[in-house]
């Protein structure tokens, strides 16, 4: 534990020094990135001890004004530290290597808040005390806010930042009530005491739904997601990678942690998680399919994956109630693996989108195309990331999605109607989500990297530097490692699963592990064979049978003699069938002139689809609140002595209430 805390200290101290030397850009970057790397490496040692060797890493008591607070790292915390460490260190390398692309903005505060964000997440995972947890949660949100609003001179960035701030505080308000209830019932702020404490204040269901609300904001549960797409889009690439790959996972950590406090689980929670996740996933993908901003597509896909993870957690809750250990195991293992897999893929995609931005200076899908020729490495990495995030074999996300499918299938064993309903939801829902995700990412990858460039760029796009490629290469490696080593990775995951299941009385046997591991063995064998055969086939064809090949012909366009880049499908036209079919959900704006006459000269068509829930639910809601609270502005006049008077009045009122009522 000492090592872990030292690591956190190093990250914070390094960030502070980087902040002090903000003027000297290279020095600041070096200190910030190296301290982050060193801290992450040290933290990884403790995490590996806990995860792979199942050794107790000890406890540490911190004296807070509100009483002592325990710091410890159990297996669940250790597992959730993996994405933080992975993306925290890789994004730091990426940030340092790309710092010279933007000479305008100060680096000092940037590194300070970046390191603070990483440190606060690690600290959050280590804190086994409600007060400490909430403090770290708040520091994490504030640090993220300053990172998102780094380019605060741009209006949309400020907007995105404020939306994030408001949403995150509404969520935190829920968490304050939640932990207030828990600690009032337990008579302590320590997590140890929460375990099996009677629900004196508020029922277990109240606590669960408060947790779902508070942490749901972070993970992007529909309709609490409206801050998410903008924040991920307008932050820098490596910040988006950390926000989506690590920070949103803290939401899942909180949810899992709170559920571990509750000795009894209820079916209604499971169904809420299941259908909430399904709606989140489908809505996110349909909206992603009609976006024209590269990073927005990736941001919505984060939400989709959050939906999948929530569905898996829902399955786990129901399996616990139905006493089906094999199903609960598959669901929980699937959820955990998906959390890790999504971090890897999403980190890669966001870093790739940053590389595209550095190469072309734009995020607009409509003006890209053909980047595979000028940026081959980025294209390869992004292509692998796209296929992986679409949940296709032989990549890593398929493994975790398969486990969740398996959990859905295993419910049929029970034979009740509700079990069948669950199976149908998981199978049909995940099937639809998988198909739409494949649609979404073949579109994104195709529009950005394939075909011919839709706009001439001056200067022409350039491949990123080798140092910037390093984090992406590591993530590609991670994708293949998880995909091919999944049966063996299941063993450490099974210990985390056991720890999550224990409080609810779920005991797993070795058989449950085996039932999930056997299919994974077959899948990893198939995956390996597929990769080898495709590469081998291609090499043989290239070396033996490529005689007489012609490589320089124009694309066949059905007899059209002068094809050019403008006749290609664009992002609007590719997603037109989707926006047509789901128009009642995405409610796209269509702009275009009617084609008329025999020889029409001007014709254009463009669709836009800002988040429909934002447009039809939140903007009207907040406009209403705005109208209601505007009269209260009279109280906010800026005279300090009157504000002190308010305090006195409030205290007096409380005193009177105490005397008269209680």
């Amino acid at each position: 534990m000492q090592l872990f805390l030292t690591a956190i200290l190093i990250i914070i101290v390094g960030g502070s020094f980087a902040g002090l030397f903000g003027r000297m850009r290279n020095l600041s970057s070096a200190i910030g990135a190296l301290s982050c790397l060193a801290g992450c490496a040290m933290a990884l040692v403790t995490v590996c001890q806990s995860l792979f060797f199942a050794s107790d890493t000890g406890r540490y008591l911190l004296n807070l004004p509100l009483g002592p607070a325990t710091l410890c790292l159990d297996q669940v915390s250790a597992f959730f530290a993996l994405p933080v460490i992975l993306l925290g260190s890789l994004a730091a390398i990426y940030a340092a290597a790309t710092a010279h692309y933007d000479e305008k903005h100060a680096l000092g505060s940037y590194w300070f808040f970046y390191n603070l964000l990483i440190a606060s997440m690690l600290m959050l995972l280590a804190s086994a005390n409600a007060v400490l947890f909430l403090m770290e949660w708040e520091i994490m949100s504030v640090a993220a806010f300053f990172l998102i609003t780094h380019r605060s001179e741009i209006g949309t960035v400020r907007n995105a930042g404020w939306r994030f701030m408001v949403a995150s505080h509404i969520g935190t308000a829920g968490l304050f009530i939640l932990f207030g209830l828990l600690s009032a019932s337990a008579g302590s702020f320590e997590f140890d005491q929460f375990l099996n404490a009677p629900a004196t204040y508020g029922s277990y269901s109240t606590i669960f739904f408060l947790a779902l609300f508070g942490f749901g904001v972070k993970v992007g549960l529909i309709p609490l997601h409206v801050w998410l797409p903008d924040s991920y889009t307008f932050a820098d690439a490596h910040v988006s990678a950390v926000l989506s790959g690590a920070m949103s996972k803290m939401g899942f950590y909180g949810l899992v942690r709170v559920m571990m406090f509750l000795p009894v689980q209820q079916a209604s929670w499971g169904w809420t998680l299941l259908f909430g996740g399904l709606l989140t996933g489908v809505f996110a993908l349909i909206t992603a399919l009609v976006q024209h901003d590269l990073k927005k597509v990736i941001a919505y896909s984060s939400m989709e994956n959050a939906g999948i993870i929530l569905m898996a957690l829902g399955c786990a809750v129901l399996a616990t109630i139905w006493k089906l250990p094999a199903m609960a195991f598959a669901a929980l293992a699937g959820a955990l693996m998906h959390i890790l897999n999504h971090s890897i893929c999403k980190g890669l995609l966001f870093l790739g989108s940053g590389a595209v931005y550095f190469g072309t200076g734009t995020r607009k899908l409509e003006s890209m195309g053909g980047l595979a020729k000028s940026m081959p490495f980025t294209a390869l990495a992004f292509g692998i990331g796209s296929a992986a995030i679409a949940g296709l074999p032989p990549f890593n996300n398929f493994v975790s999605e398969f486990l969740i499918f398996l959990a859905g299938l295993k419910a049929t064993r029970l034979g009740t109607s509700s079990a069948l309903l669950l199976s149908a939801t998981v199978l049909a829902g995940l099937g639809l989500i998988g198909g739409l995700a494949a649609a979404c990412f073949s579109r994104t990858f195709g529009l950005v990297f394939l075909g011919a460039p839709r706009e001439e760029k001056q200067p022409p796009p350039m491949e990123i530097k080798p140092l910037v490629r390093l984090p992406m290469a590591i993530l590609v490696l991670a994708i293949f490692s998880v995909a091919l080593l999944s049966p063996w990775l299941l063993l450490p995951v099974s210990r985390v699963v056991a720890e999550i299941g224990a409080p609810a009385g779920m005991l797993f046997s070795a058989d449950d592990l085996l039932l999930s591991a056997v299919p994974l063995r077959a899948i990893s064998a198939f995956s390996l064979a597929l990769i080898i055969l495709v590469m081998l086939g291609w090499r043989i064809q290239k070396s033996r049978f490529s005689k007489g090949e012609v490589q320089d012909r124009p694309t066949w366009d059905c007899g059209f003699a002068a094809p050019n880049a403008r006749i290609q499908y664009t992002s609007s036209s590719f997603s037109q069938p989707v926006s047509e079919v789901f128009s009642s959900i995405v409610r796209p704006f269509r702009h275009g002139e009617k084609v008329s006459g025999l020889f029409p000269q001007h014709a254009s068509f463009r669709t836009e689809a800002p988040d429909s829930l934002l447009r039809y639910l939140f903007l009207p809601l907040f406009a209403l609140i705005d109208r209601l609270v505007v009269p209260l502005r009279a109280l906010q006049h800026g005279h300090l002595h009157l504000y002190v008077g308010y305090l006195a009045i409030a205290l007096l009122a409380l005193l009177l209430w105490k005397v008269a009522v209680i």
């Binding site: 499918f405 069948l420 829902g429 998988g434 494949a438 529009l447 291609w538 012609v550 694309t555």
Partner: protein
């Protein structure tokens, strides 16, 4: 769990798959009052293509060259999970049909991205349609599957087909029929047949599958054409396994009965293609969602029958 008969069935399916489009075309020719190409036409085509040298667009990247291999091997890999008639597949495990569907999914991913790789107006069109229609077809396949899993209590496709018996058809004729119809629609969608897509159309604007491979030639095209025929074989195999379910049958009869079943499916597809016109594109999503609805009705009947 590899046994010799399974491998034999697998190899047999590899050889016989190209026969399938030939039969369909023969049926269509019969309905059109024509003689039609020989049943073995696809073998000749593949043979011819293998001896040609390829032409690539100058826009194409490595992806265009890798995609045929990925499509070919992923589809064949899916075949390894497909049970032979009353024989378990070469490889079976819980949830193998999901893996099978996703192997076909990776093949489709390569097909679609390769189509976008050449930067053609038409290929993008096919890609855009293909991804939507296949995404909509997935729930129908899985819902039907779920009912069968529930009926038989087995989580693998080989296990399901081993357990299915005429008893299931006698007890729940409505449910089984609904699944069969729903899967037939999935088959037509996934394999680009009429009324979703017309494999023989001459207007690129209306195509889905064919338009995505406009730029392929020689061995690449041969691999893709073969994979398409094999995919059709796989889906027909699912349908035959669902409909013909007689457990007590002498081993010698297995192959003739299976062959007859496959032949009937091919004839059925040919008849559908000869008698129904291709749908307008805007109606296709409704058609596919309809198949999902049928599967869901089957599921609800099953739940209600509990």
């Amino acid at each position: 769990m590899i046994n010799n008969t399974s491998i034999l069935w697998f190899i047999l399916s590899l050889f016989l798959a190209p026969l399938f489009p030939g039969i369909i075309n023969k049926v269509k020719a019969f309905f059109g009052g024509k003689k039609g190409p020989p049943v073995t036409q696809l073998y000749f085509d593949l043979f011819k293509l293998m001896h040609k040298s390829a032409t690539y667009s100058r826009t194409a990247t490595l992806l265009t060259r890798l995609a045929p291999f990925a499509i070919f091997f992923a589809t064949i890999g899916a075949g390894l999970l497909m049970p032979g008639f009353f024989n378990p597949a070469c490889c079976t495990f819980s949830g193998d049909i999901i893996f099978m569907a996703y192997l076909l999914g990776i093949a489709r991913f390569f097909m679609v991205t390769a189509a976008l790789d050449r930067g053609s107006a038409f290929e993008g069109m096919g890609a855009s349609r293909e991804v939507l229609y296949s995404a909509l077809a997935e729930p129908a396949l899985f819902c039907g599957l779920l009912v069968l899993i529930y009926e038989t209590g087995s989580l693998s496709i080989s296990g399901i087909f081993a357990e299915l018996s005429p008893g299931h058809w006698q007890q729940n004729p409505a449910i089984m029929l609904l699944i069969a119809v729903s899967w037939m629609i999935v088959l037509l969608t996934e394999n680009a047949r009429i009324p979703v897509d017309d494999p023989n159309t001459h207007l690129e604007l209306t195509m889905i599958h064919e338009v995505m491979i406009l730029d392929y030639s020689s061995k690449d095209l041969a691999m893709i054409e073969y994979a398409a025929a094999y995919k059709l074989w796989l889906f027909s195999g699912l349908l035959v396994g669902l409909v013909i379910s007689t457990p007590a049958m002498p081993t010698l009869l297995h192959f003739p009965v299976f062959a007859a079943g496959m032949f009937l499916v091919a004839v059925l597809i040919g008849m559908i293609e000869s008698t129904i016109a291709r749908m307008r594109l805007i109606h296709i999503p409704k058609f596919i969602v309809g198949s999902g609805a049928l599967a869901i009705i089957a599921l609800i009947l099953k739940i209600a029958g509990n």
